[in-house]
Amino acid sequence: MRQSLMAPPADSEADAGSRPRWLQLPLLCCQAAGGDPGLAEPVAAAWAVLYAAAHLLDSVEDGDAPEPWWKPLGPGPASNVATGLIATCALLLTPDTGRPRAAEPIRQDFFQTVLQMSSGQHRDLTLASPSLEECWQVAEAKSGAFFGLACRAGARCAGIDEALVSHYSTYGTCLGLLVQIGDDLADLSGGLAGRGPLGIPMAYYQAVTAAGTAERSDRFGAQAENAPTQPSLELLESSGMRLYLRAKAHELREKGHRALERATVSATGADELSRLIQSTPRSI
């Protein structure tokens, strides 16, 4: 399962400067929680660096095509760059990060989240044929946890109560899962030939073709009877995969909006957060 982080995403999930739109997440959450977004700048920088490290490691570990800048280096040196980025992230999280009492919880949260993501990545790399439920669990442990961290860290810089911080965490987790849906669909647009496991869309297909044989139409059933391990894109599309992802996206957006409504103090950042979750992914 690919997780597009620093690379300009294929479906234009980037702002005018070709940076992913969500690099501002900690600042927006701090602002929505009633804080000065400037207080969240070190956290936003640390998260952006971690974002780059996670993307790089994910690409290397998944055996994805290298980006131009590290193609001549190869995967070994690229992994070493990622290690350096993680150390840089740690150095950016100084005792002055955010507010005085927020710095240590923020720092701990960063590295507990890295552990959680590593655990999710381990499952992603070692599960031969993950079920749909396992795919969602992995996505939550990776993208969900990572975006939840950005939102928690930003909100903590505003000095709000932990009960309110949890709502930002929920919002971020939902946003991260929506980003994952977008990434999985972008992967599909590149075609299926010669590809490995393709995340949630493929797990959906496997779940419904295994469980719903008796309910399938003749057209679908006839093809699925001798279904290859990797179905054609047409077969995947005709299985209802996009309708399923649209329904899941709606569910995640509603949950994210509700969390935001419970936590918001300032409409300034919240409006942008609301727009962000509503437009992620851009299309399904």
Partner: protein
């Protein structure tokens, strides 16, 4: 029944899909299918196919719009 199984049924059973598009709740009840309210609303929104963003400013949910007179199911 899980959401993915219902979605697959919609994708592969034209009669079920037509009934679900007319009135999802009634179709589900008739077939004895249970789904969590959030998933039901999500499926309804996905079936209806309207961008959620166009609905949100008025405060109406997809369910509200679905049940508006304009979208009253046709008795057939």
């Amino acid at each position: 029944m899980k959401l993915e199984q219902i979605v697959h049924r919609v994708a592969t059973d034209a009669n079920f899909a037509a009934a679900a598009r007319r009135d999802l709740e009634r179709t589900m009840a008739r077939e004895g299918i249970e789904l969590a309210p959030a998933e039901l609303a999500a499926l309804q929104a996905a079936l209806w196919g309207t961008p959620e963003g166009a609905i949100r400013p008025s405060g109406a949910t997809p369910l509200d719009v679905w049940h508006s007179p304009q979208f009253e199911p046709q008795n057939s």
